[in-house]
Amino acid sequence: MTFNFSALSKMLLLTIMVIPALFLPVIAASPLEKAPIKIGISTSFPPFNYKDANGEIQGYNADVARAICEKMQTLCEFSPMPFPEIIPALEQGLVQFAPSNFLWTPERAARINFSEKYYRSTTSLVGLSKDSFEDPMVLLQQNEATIAAAHSSAQWRYLHQHSAAQVVSVDTIAKGMQALEKGEVDYILLPTLFALNFLQRPENTHLDFIGEPIDAKSLTGDVHIGISKTQPELKDKIDKAIQSLVSSGELRVLILKYFPFNVY
């Protein structure tokens, strides 16, 4: 009896000692030895994504991406690229996800996965201050008007489908703004929150929103993170990370760092 008991306790002790050893390599390997997740991001426009004086990528999108990676306990690295290249990069699996202000469209849904919303937005027409009391829906139907939009953006697609005006494709919103200032285009159609920060600057008082935001389903509402379909399990992880950021209040802190109100 005594012998049996001591043998049993020895076995138990041995098991207890061995179990952590089994897990040790797994714990050590998981975050460090894996290749970092690549994040597609453009650096075109504050406050969403831009490079600071040190060349670091900053902005709401960059901070959200970092926070998500932290929640997922994975190493991440930014792959800066112009906006039109991001969806192809996601499709090819060159980047795993991209916090690039994606509105949901059926065309995009066929190519990439969408996360839950990470903020909400509208779309506005921006032009010279003197036109700020005009009706944007009327301007969009003027044949002679020239309207800039970032190539392959939801706004760009909308203009092609619903506007009579001449569409000028630009690589980045910043370039569109430059064209507007130079008088190369009459207006630019862009996400309202992108325009807000730009218009609020003292040097841009000559520019303004033209009327109310555009009332179109494809231009307003939830904004998502694009996720590569090559990694279907990543959507669930990112969604959980976003939920966690929302419920912990961390996302609110990030939002108020960049925006004058809660855009979630």
Binding site: T122, T205, F209, T220, G221, F261
Partner: protein, 450 residues
């Protein structure tokens, strides 16, 4: 009798069947109660999950909207009362964007109310930008006055609008609170239902247990008690027959007890009775006599012992055959028994010799009784067509001392009988010892009668 009945009985169910039935009842009840409780529990969990997935975000949406309304109001105030153009423009733009933010879309009222801010603040911004710029100085007096009036009226409109915002904010907060309350109530109601169902289940379980207990009591314990009573009665020599039991095994016990009782009665009769006359045999008579004597000694009562012998019985056998001899013995027994007092005992000690125990009789009474028997047998036998006329001789002895023993008393009665025989038969003789006692007590001394 009961054995025969058991063979014609229909097949009875076995106890196993009873236990199986009760077990099934219990198991089905417990499982169904547990199933109901579990179903309700999972409904409660689903409700909680639903609140986590939908209600909680909805409540958060309300809270965010309420805070955003606060910000809208503050930005509006800065547009109305801000001191420089840059500040006014910055806040007006932000307020305008917030006025169309999709986060207000959950409520049509909120959506409409915040949109009204857009037009108003755009108007205020334009007016105040002119007021604060160098452009104002270039205006005519009337234009200046009109602009100031416009500014005043816009301030009034903003104050009114702020009241609207305030009411909206209250509404949103109370909506959020009622959402939360509704959710809490639903969860509480479900939990209460679970408690009620579980409580009812427990009460019904008690009922089921009572039913099971009653079944076991009726079908197991009662029959066992019956069998036990029957065995006890058997031991005491009393009659008791257990009612038939519903289940095979217990019915077997009851039948076995009944059979045992019959057998035991038969054995008892065989052991204690004379097979020919039916009266007590020698052994049993001695046992009964001993008991009667003990009682007499204990309670200081009177008792007489009589020995009786059929005169010339051998002749009856020789002359008429053994069958007539047997008939003679049987009839003699019958005649004696017919005259015996209730508590008297008769035993056949062997052959044609009988003994009587006559409680509560003194010597005189016993002699008189014996005499009446002698006469009765003589008369009855001479009247009978089946047996020859016979006579009997009797020896009587009474209990005199507390130390008298049954063997002694019997042998003294036997001596008296012997005297009767030698004295010519067909007579009653009181033993010498009894006679002596009798003569001490009374002067009358009747020794024999004929």
């Amino acid at each position: 009798m009961s054995i025969n009945m058991s063979h014609s009985d229909p097949v009875r169910p076995r106890i196993k069947k009873l236990l199986l039935r009760l077990t099934i009842l219990l198991v089905v009840f417990v499982i169904s109660t547990a199933a109901v409780v579990l179903t309700m529990h999972s409904a409660s969990l689903a409700l909680t999950e639903d609140s986590q997935e939908h209600l909680l975000p909805a409540i958060h949406e309300h809270q965010r909207a309420a805070i955003n309304l606060e910000r809208l109001e503050r930005m509006g105030d800065l547009v109305l009362y801000g001191g420089n153009v840059t500040l006014i423009r910055k806040n007006a733009l932000a307020a305008q964007v917030l006025a169309f933010q999709p986060s207000f879309h959950f409520s049509p009222v909120a959506k409409e109310t915040v949109r009204a801010a857009f037009e108003l603040l755009r108007e205020v911004r334009r007016t105040r930008q002119i007021l604060l710029s160098s452009q104002f100085e270039r205006l005519s007096d009337i234009e200046q006055r009109n602009l100031l009036l416009l500014d005043k009226s816009l301030q009034v409109r903003w104050s009114e609008y702020k009241q609207e915002l305030f009411e909206l904010q209250n509404k949103i907060i109370s909506d959020a609170t009622s959402l939360q309350e509704k959710n809490m109530q639903q969860i509480t109601a479900t939990n209460n239902m679970i408690l009620v169902v579980a409580g009812t289940g427990m009460s019904l379980l008690l009922v089921v247990i009572v039913i099971i207990g009653y079944s076991l009591y009726k079908h197991l314990i009662t029959p066992v008690t019956e069998a036990s009573k029957a065995l006890l009665a058997l031991e005491q020599g009393k009659a008791f027959s257990p009612a038939p039991a519903r289940y095979q095994e217990l019915n077997n016990i009851h039948q076995a007890v009944a059979n045992l009782s019959t057998t035991l009665n038969k054995l008892h009769t065989m052991a204690t009775r004379d097979s020919l006359t039916g009266c007590a045999n020698r052994g049993y008579f001695m046992e009964l006599a001993q008991k009667a004597l003990s009682k007499v000694h204990r309670q200081n009562l009177q008792m007489a012992i009589v020995m009786l012998d059929i005169d010339h019985f051998k002749k009856v056998n020789d002359q008429y055959g053994h069958a007539v001899g047997d008939d003679t013995l049987q009839l003699t027994t019958k005649w004696i028994q017919a005259s015996l007092p209730e508590n008297a005992i008769i035993g056949r000690l062997g052959g044609e010799e009988f003994a009587l125990i006559l409680p509560e009789m003194n010597a005189q009474q016993a002699v008189n009784f014996s005499e009446s028997i002698r006469k009765k047998i003589a008369e009855n036998s001479s009247d009978s067509s089946t047996v020859p006329a016979i006579t009997v001789s009797l020896g009587v002895q009474v209990v005199r001392e507390p130390t008298d023993e049954i063997d002694t008393l019997l042998s003294q009665a036997d001596k008296a009988l012997y005297e009767a025989k030698t004295g010519g038969r067909n007579r009653v003789i009181l033993s010498k010892e009894s006679n002596a006692k009798e003569s001490e007590e009374s002067p009358q001394n009747e020794k024999t009668t004929q």
